[in-house]
Amino acid sequence: MEEGRISSSQLSLLAISYLIGTTFLLSPGSQAKQGTWLTILLGLGEALIPVLIFTTLAKRFAGKSLIEINDLVWGKIVGKLFSLVFLWYIFHLGSASFAIFVALFKTTVLIATPEVILLISGLLSCIYVSKKGIEVIARTNEVLILITVLLLILGFLLVLNIFNANNLFPVIEIPITRLLWATQESSSLFGQTIVFMMIFPYLNRRKSCTGAIIKGLVVAAILLMSSAVRTTGVLGKISESYIFPNYETDRLIDIGNTLTRLEILPVLNFLTMGFIKSSVSLYVTSLGTAQLLNLRTYRPVVIPLGILMIIAATQNYPDISSHLRFVENIHPIYALPVQIIFPLITLLLAIIRRLPCQGENQ
């Protein structure tokens, strides 16, 4: 079904891209105002719970994807139901990143272009790379993440003259319940790495998956925190009132009246990372569907699923404010079953049933 192999460092890089893919623009925990960076840090800590659960599961069933694990542990019918929920979630994540992409372009860069043109051109590259397999996705990502990190550092340096450290204080201004909710919001973001349950079987060294994912999480958290600090420092309290605060920050760049209005930088970052996020989601959804239906290859389902994904993007998120509501109020709870509950009970049942049996796990 998939012959490619990736190394654990490539997996880490993929995890970073997947996490920062859409969150550059929609920073998690932004309702915590100046404390956004703190909620990201707390969210990272909380996200270790789901990550440890599902990587333990993956290591217990080395070489098996989540779909296959579900089948083994729960039997054919219940297992397939669990897998369906999981695939729906990943499919949903992919369509969400398409939706953000459209929202960004419709409001900022290409205002008059019909959104279907934007979606189709974006989808084409996602389909192309998904059909090429995980190896190509991982390698493409290596280049893109290098560019992204360089641009991020550049972006940080360029706002130093308009950066006001006073904007960062006081750190916590909101009630503790709001803070906890915001923490759960960013934790549910980091928990999205469960998508890699489908990619672990293609690792060079399968035992290294926990370390690779955690490395990816930490780097992504650092990147997101620096970006949050930058936005708050430049925009101050009003940062919350923008839909895309990062975009607004780069608009304010002004170095000696020559380097001005570099809002293309966050767009570029978002496009490259969002492309990886959509592609990985599309790839995993296709691979999972193929495994669910016992197909010989996942390639024929890539195009139909991709088309469904952009349809879902336009139908689920008619506008950006409904998307924001979803991310802030619904996703933290919506993600819980897939990220924590299902893996946890699967792991527990596997322990109780003493799965995998000897011989099944080489």
Binding site: V109, L110, I117, Y128, K132, E135, T140, R261
Partner: protein
């Protein structure tokens, strides 16, 4: 599918028939009958020469030498075949023992290569390759005597790959000269040539060259396999082979490299690559090929490394300008005017005032004009070439701007692109395709279109392989020790390993830490190669 269609339309006979078997007619013992056989095969071409003479050994024997005029060296035929057989043979009283033809081969002929054969196909092939065939009345065997010699071009510097410093020699059309030039560069017994004949009609000599001990044996096996499955009529140039053996036949990116320079070929072989020589062309294929090779020029290693590094950056810059500049220009002027500094924007707007076409059409049209000029300039004879440049510069450059058909900034952009596209010659063909595609995408979607185009290109590049080696290596997948020759060209004494993806069977190229130091420090230092120490 294709076979089915062919059958359906009764076109099955159009398919290539398999090569005929080597079985053929045997020689007779009568000279006239043998000559008739040859005439039947070779026809009455005026260049087929039959020189009859009388051989005086025990008794007078009618004999003949048959060769093709122009393919042979007259001097060799006279000095080493006719003179001994006609004059020397008479001088002594020979006691002929054994078979007559063996006796001639052993005692009279003073030529290096002599083969005995009794079948027509082999002999005819030998004649066509420039050998002379000696037929003697009463013998049912003949001798194919190596008398090859034809007009050759002298060794000159290749026009397409010139260097400022460094050797001034390039390959010629003669495969033997070429292999000899390579041997002169690499005096290692490990340098091996494997010859085969490809092309049913042209019977072109093709040699695989590699350095045993450095090359990956599997790579040689793969090259051999891919060459052997070629079944075609003609091989007239190296590209006739590379299109058959390329990994990605539909990709515009070359996965087999070309060079006309012995020094480049030698360097590539010593990194563990395989070269494919084709007779009749100065162009040599090398494989596997990496994307980065297009940016590595032989002059990089002939100049100081700091300068070479800077020039390499210029080359990268020129490559990206060559493919991106028109697209950026279109995107900026059509969609993202806010990114242009205001004074520049005003002057550009003034220049574009009154131009009747959208910018993307202007850019594509001017690009087409440039390509037409380039193609005309390449094909035309030198004296007429000047006319082209005058017409191009004056009429198209000056007059179109003056007439207001094209804006001056467009002409500047196209001119800069044109110059930049010549800096990296091996990627020039791709440059044209990418430039056109990206310009269209920029016209439709602005900077986002450019990004989509670049993403698709990047995906394509990462999925490419050349003989099993990832095309973008050593950047993707990253190998740290190979970064010595990518962004920077490190000093030669620091390049102590061969490329990881290619020459890894024996990775150590030279001793480590040979940077020049003062004599006191050098004293007592171990210069031997790590490989040698292991034994």
């Amino acid at each position: 599918m294709i076979r089915f269609l062919l059958r359906k339309f009764g076109l099955a006979h159009l398919r290539k028939e398999s090569p005929s078997t080597p079985e053929g007619k045997l020689l007779h013992s009568d000279l006239e009958e043998n000559l008739a056989l040859f005439r039947e095969e070779l026809g009455n071409s005026p260049d087929v020469i039959i020189r009859r003479f009388t051989l005086n050994l025990r008794n007078e024997l009618k004999s003949a030498v048959l060769f093709i005029d122009g393919l042979i060296d007259q001097q060799v035929i006279y000095d080493s075949i006719l003179y001994p057989l006609m004059i020397e043979a008479k001088k002594e009283k020979w006691a002929v023992k054994g078979h007559l033809i063996d006796f001639i081969e052993d005692n009279l002929l003073t030529v290096g290569g002599v083969d005995k054969d009794d079948r027509m196909p082999g002999l005819v092939a030998a004649v066509l390759a420039g050998d002379s065939v000696l037929l003697v009345d009463g013998c049912d065997q003949a001798l194919a005597i190596s008398t090859k010699g034809w007009e050759k071009r002298s060794i000159t510097e290749p026009d397409t790959e010139q260097t400022i410093k460094g050797p001034r020699e390039g390959f010629t059309e003669n495969i033997r000269t070429n292999t000899a030039m390579l041997r002169r560069k690499i005096a290692d017994p490990g340098l091996k040539f494997e010859q085969m004949k490809i092309g049913e009609r042209t019977r072109t000599k093709v040699s695989i060259a590699y350095v045993k001990g450095i090359v990956n044996e599997k790579l040689v096996e793969e090259v051999r396999r891919r060459l052997k499955r070629i079944n075609t009529d003609m091989v007239l140039d190296a590209n006739y082979l590379s299109e058959f053996i390329s990994d990605a036949p539909f990709s515009p990116f070359p996965t087999v490299a070309f060079t006309e320079r012995p020094d480049v070929t030698a360097a590539k072989l010593l990194e563990g690559r395989v070269a494919i020589f084709v007779d009749g062309t100065p162009v040599v294929n090398t494989a596997p090929t990496l994307f980065i090779e297009s940016f590595q020029n032989p002059d990089d290693y002939n100049f100081h490394f700091l300068f070479a590094t800077m020039i390499r950056w210029i080359r990268y810059l020129a490559f990206f300008l060559g493919i991106l500049l028109p697209a950026f220009f279109v995107a900026l002027t059509t969609y993202h005017q806010e990114l242009i500094p205001t004074p520049l924007l005003i002057s550009m707007a003034a220049a574009m005032e009154g131009v009747p076409f959208p910018i993307v059409i202007e850019v594509v049209a001017m690009g087409a004009v440039f390509e037409i000029l380039r193609e005309a300039g390449v094909r035309l004879a030198r004296p007429i070439g000047q006319t082209i440049s005058i017409v191009g510069a004056l009429v198209i450059g000056q007059a179109t701007v003056a007439a207001g058909l094209v804006a001056a900034p467009t002409v500047i952009v196209i001119a800069l692109t044109a110059i930049a596209s010549f800096v990296v010659p091996t990627q020039q063909e791709i440059g044209i395709i990418l430039r056109l595609g990206l310009t269209f995408l920029a016209g439709i979607l602005g900077a986002y279109g450019i990004l989509v185009g670049l993403l698709l290109t990047l995906i394509h590049l990462t999925s490419l392989r050349s003989f099993g080696v990832p095309y973008l290596s050593p950047v993707i997948p990253l190998s740290i020790e190979d970064q010595k020759d990518v962004i920077v060209r490190t000093p030669l004494w620091a390049m102590w390993t061969r490329p990881r993806s290619i020459g890894w069977p024996r990775p150590i190229r030279q001793g480590f830490g040979q940077s020049p130091t003062s004599p006191e420090e050098t004293a007592g230092k171990d210069w031997s190669r790590p490989d040698d120490k292991k034994g």
